[in-house]
């Protein structure tokens, strides 16, 4: 019994020692457990005269001179008016190499401003009512000398739109460029904005677009798992706007149009004026886009009803004087519809992009001289591209495009047309200099465009750019038709 008691007693004493030791050791073990963050008042942090110990910037000397202008407060405010204005001054000069003629010497003052008004309900949100406007003054005597497309001086409004932004939806009304395609250079589903006829090529690979008057409503849809974001866009253009035909003499007047005009001058037929849509709320365009994001995929279904941007030439015999019938050719823009799918997917250091559009009754010009000069046929257009950054900054973008036209034997189109777009560029001199090549190559008679360029940024405000843009191919090709338009461009821009 004694032994037993003694034994219990010894074990109990050992247990007490064990508990004591453990209780002493716990504060020494591990890295800080679940304690509260270090606190100055609790003397966890050593505070010296200019802040906490070990702060190399506590004396403010290094950050004093360039950090005086604190940006706007990020706190939500009950009401605020926000106004920003920016712009640039630019001199862009284009010399056509074939005849050493200056086809553009555009001097531009560009201004844009945005204003916001309303109660900002949460930090980071924008005011619910916002207005954006941009416009410019262009002086381009060289282009004005060539054709009526350009005035020597032109003051114009580019975009001007009001955005009403509410939780779950927003509406945009005004003149705007709105792109919905994902492809690069070739976008079968970007059907809303017409091409800028004065300057159709923004680069060797991409076109330039003009804003249109539109209404855009976007609704954020509820997203059941695994979707991460879903939106429904509805776009209404009350009056369709289309590609305007270039005036005679313009650098961008296609040879086909030149021949038509020559035939008109010779009296072979009468070439009527371009018949653009002109009935507001009758000749409207509507696009609907349902977009969703899911596991790295951006996907959208797109439906469009509207008017052909590039005209077809309607042929019609009309009675003239006596029994004579005269052929009238009129550039018109028939309606059509399109349905499609667009996607983008991030893949490691690459992005995959694609569009597929079906245009069931697309007006296409006929080969022969039958009436009315065009026919409707199903057309399918697809693009599939990938971009990737190699090393630090070497960017490569390749995109394959394919167009299939049914019943093409009667039409000016080929049954299959395809080609690639490309963009390869890199950065040098601490990223101040970017240089590269970009363009489009058609494999089925479209010809090709090629641009090599370099742009140098001096400080934050100055941009110097030089490029050589080449076209090659047959006269009937989309790019070959500008074979005579190889040009050197020099641009200097000051942004403010």
């Amino acid at each position: 019994m004694i032994r037993a008691i003694t034994g219990v007693s010894v074990i109990s004493r050992a247990a007490r020692i064990l508990v004591l030791l453990i209780s002493l050791l716990i504060p020494l073990t591990g890295v800080r457990g679940d304690e509260s963050p270090p606190d100055v008042e609790a003397e966890d942090i050593d505070v010296s005269g200019n802040g906490i110990t070990g702060d190399p910037f506590a004396d403010d000397s290094l950050f004093s001179s360039d950090f005086t202008n604190e940006p706007a407060d990020t706190e939500a405010q009950k009401s605020r008016v926000k106004l920003d204005m920016h712009g640039y001054l630019e001199s862009r000069n284009r010399l056509r190499t074939g005849d050493s003629r200056l086809v553009s010497a555009r001097q531009r003052l560009w201004l844009e401003a945005q204003a916001g008004y309303g109660i900002v309900e949460t930090i980071g949100a924008e005011p619910p009512f916002r207005f954006f406007v941009s416009g410019a003054v262009d002086l381009d005597p060289a282009a004005a000398d060539l054709s009526d497309d350009h005035d020597t001086a032109r003051l114009y409004l580019e975009e001007a739109f009001l955005t009403v932004d509410r939780p779950g939806w927003n509406v945009v009304i005004g003149r705007k460029i709105h792109r919905i395609g994902t492809g690069d250079g070739i976008n079968p589903l970007d059907l809303i904005n017409p091409i800028d006829y004065r300057d159709p090529f923004a680069t060797g690979r991409s076109d330039a677009r003009l804003p249109v008057l539109l209404g855009l409503a976007t609704i954020n849809l509820p997203v059941p798992e695994p979707f991460q974001e879903a939106n429904l866009d509805v776009i209404v253009v009350p009056l369709a706007e289309v590609n305007r035909l270039n005036s005679p003499g313009s650098a961008w007047e296609p040879p086909g149009l030149q021949k038509l005009r020559a035939g008109h001058r010779e009296g072979a037929y009468i070439l009527e004026d371009q018949k653009e849509p002109d009935r507001v709320f009758e000749q409207t365009e509507v696009a609907v886009r349902l977009a969703a994001t899911l596991s790295g995929w951006d996907m959208s279904l797109i439906g469009f009803y509207g008017y052909l941007d590039s005209p077809v030439f309607e042929r019609e015999y009309r009675s003239g004087s006596g029994a004579m019938q005269t052929l009238h050719i009129t550039p018109i823009h028939p309606d059509f519809s399109a349905f499609g799918f667009a996607f983008a997917k991030g893949l490691d250091r690459s992005t995959l992009r694609g569009e597929l559009a079906v245009k069931p009754d697309l007006p296409v010009m006929t080969k022969d001289e039958t009436m009315p000069g065009f026919s409707r046929t199903p057309v399918m257009e697809g693009v599939l591209g990938i971009d990737r950054t190699f090393g630090t900054n070497l960017y490569v973008n390749l995109q394959y495009f394919l167009i299939h036209t049914w019943e093409a034997e009667y039409l000016i189109s080929d049954t299959w047309a395809h080609g690639i777009t490309y963009d390869v560029h890199d950065s040098f001199l601490q990223d101040d200099l970017e240089a590269g090549v970009r363009g489009i190559v058609g494999f089925t008679g479209q010809g090709w465009s090629f641009e090599t360029y370099a742009e140098y940024q001096l400080a934050d405000d100055w941009l110097f750019q030089g490029s050589l843009l080449l076209f090659e191919g047959s006269e009937s090709g989309a790019y070959g038709q500008f074979d005579g338009n190889d040009m050197v461009t020099l641009r200097v821009r000051y942004s403010f």
Partner: protein
């Protein structure tokens, strides 16, 4: 019984020895990763890039919100204010703690009125022509690197853990660096300095951190300096108007919010 007691004491001392073991590099980096306990953050940032007598200035506003079960996924919106030629350009990133899952990234280009998905291929490129690479401003998961505690050192008069962080083999192709040597303050678990080594193992650049402030209860670095001796350039970066846990709306982190 005496032997039993001695054995117990030995076990206790042994366990005490284990308890006294230095934390591992990963322990410290996990701890550093937990300093920012915020669910969301809003701030303004200003960056001055010095290239000899030339100074480039950038400013931006950014919003961040944590997502996922352990709040380890993150969505970030950065909108540029300056310089004028990139005004309103915005980047939206959805990053995931799961190293197997690719980040989602989009850029809004106001001049082209275009929201465009981009890939992480540009991570190694310079951030806005500064001394920072794009990867330097990203939220890097602790387990993207193997961390080794190599010692302790005083930096700017305060004690720091010195941790060598080497990218996991499968991630080496995605980074400019063969390793980063991080000096983590022992009191705040915030960085005091980071030395970046290039792929050849040579010192590429150094980041020095400061402007430590306790904001809404969270210790925060508000100023840092990146210096690249080879290029003779440096970048000063300052964060201001910082606020945490303001209940940022999820809609701010949608693609739809990028376009103005």
């Amino acid at each position: 019984m005496i032997r039993m007691t001695i054995s117990l004491i030995c076990m206790i001392l042994l366990s005490a020895g284990i308890g006294h073991a230095e934390p591992t590099g990963r322990d410290i980096m996990l701890k550093a990763d937990e300093v920012d306990t915020s669910r969301d953050a809003a701030m303004s940032s200003r960056m001055v890039i010095e290239r000899g007598s030339l100074k480039l200035q950038r400013s931006m506003e950014s919003l961040t919100k944590q997502y996922g079960k352990n709040l380890k996924d993150e969505r970030t919106l950065i909108r540029f204010v300056e310089p004028a030629d990139v005004h309103d350009t915005a980047y939206l990133t959805w990053s995931y703690d799961d190293p197997e899952r690719e980040d989602d990234m989009w850029v809004y280009l106001p001049a082209e009125s275009l929201v465009r998905r981009i890939s992480g291929g540009g991570k190694k490129g310079a951030f806005m022509r500064s001394d920072l690479a794009n990867e330097d401003i990203e939220d890097r998961a602790v387990d993207d690197d193997e961390h080794t505690l190599t010692g302790e050192e005083n930096v700017s008069g305060t004690a720091c853990y010195v941790i060598e962080s080497v990218p996991r083999p499968e991630l080496k192709k995605d980074t400019n660096y063969s390793k980063r040597v991080q000096y983590i303050r022992k009191d705040l678990y915030l960085p005091a300095k980071i030395d970046y080594y290039d792929k050849r193992g040579k010192l590429l650049k150094t980041a020095t951190f400061g402007g430590y402030k306790q904001i809404d209860g969270i210790w925060t670095v508000t100023r840092f300096l990146y210096e690249t001796p080879r290029r003779k350039t440096r970048t000063l970066f300052q964060r201001s108007n910082i606020s945490y846990n303001q209940g940022l709306d999820d809609a701010l982190f949608l693609q739809n919010n990028l376009m103005r």
